[in-house]
C-alpha cells in the first residue's frame, strides 16, 4: 500500500503500517503522540488549527539533563534580576517553524505558575522570559518548552546588542514625533505662504504661528535632543561638529520665531526648525541603521561551539562540560563530530577535515600517536584521544580570543562627510557671528542684525549635507544587493573605495575549491556504472570530481549496489561486485597493490583498477574561476596591489599565482600567519581588502579594513565579512570595487553640490537679501538636488 498518512502532530507523511494508531489519530513516533496529548490536555489544541499543515520536526527525546540550568554558574552567566526582583533570561528557541509555534510556546509558558512574561521573536527565534524564581525554577520552564516539542538554549545577550536595539527604538520614537509635527506644520505653512502673497491679517498669522510653535516645540526639544547631546559631547572633546551647527541653528531660529510670534510682527520660521531637525534626524537614522555590531558576530561564533564533550571515566562514557575537562582526560570523538580540545590519539584512526586551519578541503589521515587539533572535524574517524591542553589553552579557544581582539582592533576610516562637516560647521558659525557684528555696527538695530545672522544659519543648515552621504550609500547598497553583493555596513563602501591592497585567499576564492577532471585516459573498456557507483559514495573531493565528470558525460547513469565496499583512508576505495574486485584511488593505492603505471602527471590523479589491472586514469585540477583576468585588469587600472595568501604548499600556490599573474604570494600560511601579514600591511599604512571563504581566513578577515566573504564559504567567514558575495564569483568582486568607487564618487559629488549651493546662497543671506519664502524653497531645493543626483547615478547603473 503506497497511500501515506501524515502524523497528527508533525504532519510528516509515513506509511500507515509504521505509524502509531491512537483512536482516530496517527503518530509517527511516541514523541509526537505525547506532545499531542499534552496540548489537548492543556486545551492548547487550537495550535493545530493555527499551524494548518505546516510540517514540524518531531520532538527529540535525548536532551541533556535540564538541572544544569539551575546551577549557580549558569545563573551567574545568563540570568539577570530585573528592577521588580524577577529573574530574566534570554533564550534561543529551536524548532520554531511558523507563527503558531510562537503562539504555542508563549501560551504554554504563560500557563505556568510564576512565569510573568514570555516574549518570543519570530524573526530571530530569540525569547525573553521573566519569572519569579521562588515559585518556578528555570529548569521547569526549559522542561516545558521541551515537552511541547521544542528546545531552548541560553545565550548571553550582550550589553551592546541591548544597547543597539534600544538606540534604534529611541530613533523610531523621535522620528515619529518629528515627522508627525513636520507634516502638520507643512499644512499650516501652506496657509502662511498663501497669505504672504494674497494678504493675511496679523491676527490670523499669529494664530498660525502659535499652532506651528506648539508643533515645533516637541520636534526641537524631544526629537532634536540627539543634536544637543552630540553638540555637548563634541564640545567636551573640543570638536565643532555638525550637531552643534544644527542645534544652534534650530534653537536660535526657534527662539527668534517665538519672539516674533509674541511681538506679533515679522515672519516666524517654525517650519524651518522642524524641517531641519526632521531631515537631519532621518539622515542620522539611516547611518545608525546600516551599522552592524561586532557583538552580534561574536554571539554567532560562540554559539556554534558545543559545550559538552564525551569522556571516558571508569570504563564508561560520560558527558562532561567543556570547561571541566582537565589535561589527561580521554575524550571520545565519533565520525562527523567536531574536535573541541587538543590531544593525542590513543585509539582508532580516520580522516579529519582540517579546512578550518589550512583552508584545504583534502582530508588528513590520522592514527594512534598523532595529534588532533581543536576546531577540526572528524569525517569518518571514531577515536579516543588524551587531552594535552585544557579548553582555555586550546587552539580553538585561542582563535576565538584572537578573533575577539581582532574585531575590536579593526581600523575605522574616518568618513569624509564627518571630517568635512567639522570644518563646515566652524566656518558657518563664524560667518554668521561676523554677519551679526557687521550688521549691528552698520544698521545699529539688534533685531535686523540678529535676523540676518540667523538667516545665514538657516540657509546653510546642512540638510543637503546631512543627506548627501546616507542617500548615496543607500544607492550603493541597492546596486550591490541587486547584483548579489551585500554590503553589511554603509561605511564599507567608502573604505573599500579607498583601499590600495587586495589580499586573496586561494582555495574557494580564486579557485573553485573542487577538483575537476581535465583529462581522461582509458586503457581498457569497462562498465562506467561501476566506476560511478564506486566514486559516488565517497566524500573525498577527488572522488566527487570524478563522479561529477561521469554524470556530465551520461546524465542517466544508474548506480550498482556493491557486495562489499570500504574506504581506505588517504588512499582510495575498494569494492567487490560479482566476484570482481575494484579499486579506485591515488598512486599510493597502486603501489600498495604492487601495480605499475608508466604515465606520470603533475596534476592530481585518480586510477581505476579492475581485477588488478589499471583500466583508466583521470587527471584532476582545481580550476581557477572565470573573470580573473577582468579582476586583475581592474586592479591594475586602479593601482591596487594584489597579494595571494594560501595555506597550500609552495608548488601549487606558485602555479596558481603564475597562471593568474599575481607576483606577490605567500604559501603554507596558518590563520595566525595571515592575520600577521594583514597587520604588517597596516603598519606600512596600507588599506587592505581581504577576500576569503574559510574558517582559516577569519582572523585575517576580522583585521582587514574591508573583509569580503564568499557566500558559499563557512558561516563564520560570512559573519565576519563586511561584504558578502552571494554568487562566489570574481565578477561580483570586481563589481563590488566598481560600485564602491561609484558610490564614493557620488558622495563627493553630493557634498560638492551642497557646498556649492551654500557658497552661492550664504553671501546672499549675509547681504540680508533672503526672504522667508526663498529660505524655505532653497532648503528643499538643495536636498532635492542631492537626492536627484543620486537617483541619476542609480538609473545609469541599472540600465548598464
Amino acid at each position: 500500500m503506497s497511500h501515506k498518512i501524515s502524523c497528527s502532530h508533525c504532519h510528516l507523511e509515513f506509511d500507515p503500517s509504521v505509524m502509531i494508531k491512537d483512536e482516530e489519530y496517527y503518530f509517527c513516533c511516541s514523541g509526537c503522540q505525547s506532545v499531542f496529548h499534552l496540548l489537548c490536555d492543556e486545551k492548547l489544541d487550537s495550535f493545530y488549527e493555527k499551524s494548518k499543515n505546516i510540517t514540524l520536526s518531531p520532538p527529540s527525546k535525548n536532551f541533556e539533563d535540564s538541572s544544569s540550568f539551575d546551577t549557580p554558574s549558569f545563573y551567574n552567566k545568563f540570568v539577570k534580576v530585573n528592577s521588580d526582583g524577577f529573574c530574566e533570561v534570554s533564550l534561543i528557541i529551536e524548532g520554531i517553524h511558523c507563527s503558531a509555534c510562537v503562539w504555542l510556546n508563549e501560551k504554554a509558558l504563560h500557563k505556568m505558575d510564576g512565569v510573568i512574561e514570555a516574549n518570543i521573536n519570530f524573526t530571530n527565534n530569540k525569547a525573553t522570559i521573566v519569572w519569579a524564581d521562588d515559585i518556578v525554577k528555570l529548569s521547569a520552564i526549559i522542561d516545558m518548552i521541551r515537552s511541547i516539542g521544542y528546545n531552548a538554549f541560553a545565550y548571553d545577550s550582550s550589553a551592546q546588542e541591548i544597547h543597539a536595539n534600544r538606540e534604534r527604538k529611541a530613533y523610531y520614537l523621535k522620528m515619529a514625533v518629528a515627522i508627525f509635527a513636520s507634516m502638520n506644520i507643512m499644512w499650516i505653512a501652506v496657509a502662511q505662504y498663501a497669505g504672504y502673497f494674497s494678504g493675511i491679517t496679523q491676527d490670523v498669522k499669529t494664530i498660525l504661528n502659535i499652532a506651528e510653535g506648539v508643533l515645533a516645540t516637541p520636534v526641537l526639544f524631544y526629537s532634536g535632543w540627539v543634536f544637543f547631546r552630540g553638540a555637548y559631547y563634541g564640545l567636551r572633546a573640543k570638536v565643532i561638529n555638525m550637531d552643534l551647527l544644527v542645534a544652534t541653528g534650530a534653537t536660535l531660529t526657534y527662539f527668534y520665531s517665538l519672539y516674533i510670534t509674541i511681538l506679533g510682527r515679522g515672519e516666524a520660521y517654525f517650519d524651518s526648525v522642524s524641517m531641519i531637525v526632521t531631515f537631519v534626524l532621518i539622515g542620522k537614522f539611516l547611518e545608525v541603521l546600516s551599522k552592524k555590531s561586532a557583538a552580534d558576530v561574536l554571539d554567532k561564533i560562540t554559539k556554534n561551539i558545543p559545550t559538552d564533550v564525551k569522556i571516558i571515566k571508569q570504563n564508561s562514557i560520560v558527558i562532561c562540560k567543556l570547561d571541566d575537562i582537565i589535561v589527561g582526560d580521554i575524550v571520545v570523538v565519533s565520525s562527523g563530530e567536531r574536535v573541541l580540545l587538543d590531544g593525542e590519539i590513543v585509539r582508532g584512526s580516520g580522516s579529519f577535515d582540517e579546512s578550518s586551519l589550512t583552508g584545504e578541503s583534502e582530508p588528513v589521515y590520522k592514527s594512534v600517536g598523532m595529534n588532533v587539533i581543536s576546531g577540526t572535524a572528524s569525517i569518518d574517524a571514531d577515536i579516543h584521544f588524551r587531552v594535552i591542553k585544557d579548553f582555555k589553552h586550546s587552539t580553538l579557544s585561542n582563535i576565538v580570543t584572537l578573533l575577539e581582539s581582532a574585531i575590536n582592533k579593526k581600523p575605522k576610516i574616518q568618513l569624509m562627510a564627518n571630517r568635512l562637516s567639522e570644518h563646515f560647521s566652524t566656518v558657518i558659525l563664524t560667518l554668521s557671528f561676523i554677519t551679526f557684528i557687521v550688521w549691528w555696527i552698520w544698521s545699529n538695530s539688534f533685531e535686523t542684525s540678529f535676523m540676518v545672522a540667523i538667516s545665514v544659519i538657516i540657509i546653510a543648515c546642512p540638510c543637503a549635507l546631512a543627506l548627501a552621504t546616507p542617500v548615496a550609500t543607500l544607492v550603493g547598497l541597492g546596486l550591490g544587493a541587486s547584483r548579489g553583493i551585500l554590503f553589511k555596513e554603509a561605511a564599507g563602501l567608502e573604505s573599500m573605495a579607498k583601499a590600495d591592497t587586495l589580499v586573496l585567499d586561494k582555495t574557494g576564492t580564486i579557485t573553485v575549491g573542487k577538483p575537476e577532471v581535465i583529462s581522461e585516459n582509458i586503457y581498457k573498456n569497462f562498465d562506467r556504472r561501476l566506476l560511478y557507483s564506486l566514486v559516488k559514495s565517497s566524500n573525498h573531493p577527488v572522488a566527487k570530481g570524478v563522479a561529477k565528470y561521469i554524470k556530465e558525460q551520461d546524465e542517466k547513469i544508474d548506480e550498482i549496489v556493491f557486495d562489499e565496499y570500504m574506504q581506505i583512508p588517504a588512499k582510495g576505495i575498494r569494492a567487490k561486485y560479482k566476484n570482481e574486485e575494484f579499486l579506485g584511488g591515488n598512486l599510493k593505492l597502486l603501489q600498495e597493490n604492487s601495480l605499475q603505471v608508466e604515465v606520470s602527471t603533475k596534476e592530481t590523479s585518480f586510477y581505476f583498477v579492475v581485477n588488478n589491472e589499471v583500466v583508466a586514469m583521470y587527471e584532476l585540477r582545481d580550476k581557477i574561476k572565470n573573470n580573473i583576468s577582468e579582476l586583475m585588469e581592474n586592479m591594475l587600472q586602479n593601482n591596487i596591489d594584489v597579494v595571494l595568501l594560501s595555506g597550500d604548499h609552495e608548488n601549487i600556490t606558485k602555479k596558481v599565482a603564475l597562471e593568474v599573474g599575481i607576483k606577490n604570494f605567500m604559501f603554507e600560511q596558518t590563520p595566525q600567519d595571515k592575520a600577521k601579514y594583514i597587520e604588517k600591511l597596516h603598519k606600512e599604512g596600507k588599506k587592505v581588502v581581504m577576500v576569503g571563504d574559510g574558517v582559516n581566513d577569519i582572523l585575517a578577515l576580522a583585521l582587514a579594513d574591508i573583509a569580503i566573504a564568499m557566500g558559499g564559504g563557512s558561516d563564520i567567514a560570512v559573519e565576519v565579512g563586511d561584504v558578502v558575495l552571494l554568487d562566489d564569483s570574481l565578477k561580483s568582486l570586481s563589481d563590488a570595487f566598481k560600485i564602491s568607487r561609484t558610490t564614493f564618487g557620488l558622495i563627493k559629488q553630493n557634498l560638492f553640490i551642497s557646498l556649492a549651493y551654500n557658497a552661492l546662497t550664504i553671501p546672499l543671506a549675509m547681504a540680508g537679501y533672503v526672504i522667508p519664502l526663498f529660505a524655505a524653497i532653497s532648503m528643499s531645493l538643495s536636498s532635492l538636488l542631492v537626492v536627484g543626483n543620486s537617483m541619476r547615478i542609480r538609473h545609469k547603473w541599472m540600465r548598464s
Binding site: K50, D84, I116, F122, T123, Y172, L173, A176, F180
Partner: protein
C-alpha cells in the same frame, strides 16, 4: 469670530492627531512592532480567548509584583 473658528479647528485637529501619535508611540515603546512577522500574524490569533488570557496574565503579574513588594 473668524479667527476663533480657525484657532478652534487647528486646536482640535492637532489634538486628534496627537492622540493617534501617542497611541503609536505607546505601541512602539510596548514592543508591539519589534517583530514584524509576529505583528502581522497577531491579527490571525485574536479573539475572546486571547483577550482573556492576556488579562489573566496581567493579573498574575500584578499579584506577584505585590507579593514581592509588600509595601
Amino acid at each position: 469670530m473668524d479667527n476663533w473658528v480657525i484657532a478652534m479647528m487647528l486646536g482640535v485637529s492637532i489634538f486628534l492627531g496627537a492622540i493617534a501619535l501617542f497611541a503609536f508611540l505607546w505601541a512602539v515603546k510596548n514592543g508591539q512592532f519589534d517583530d514584524e512577522e509576529k505583528f502581522l500574524n497577531a491579527v490571525k490569533f485574536d479573539g475572546e480567548n486571547e483577550l482573556n488570557d492576556a488579562l489573566k496574565q496581567e493579573e498574575k503579574k500584578e499579584s506577584l509584583k505585590r507579593k514581592y513588594k509588600p509595601e
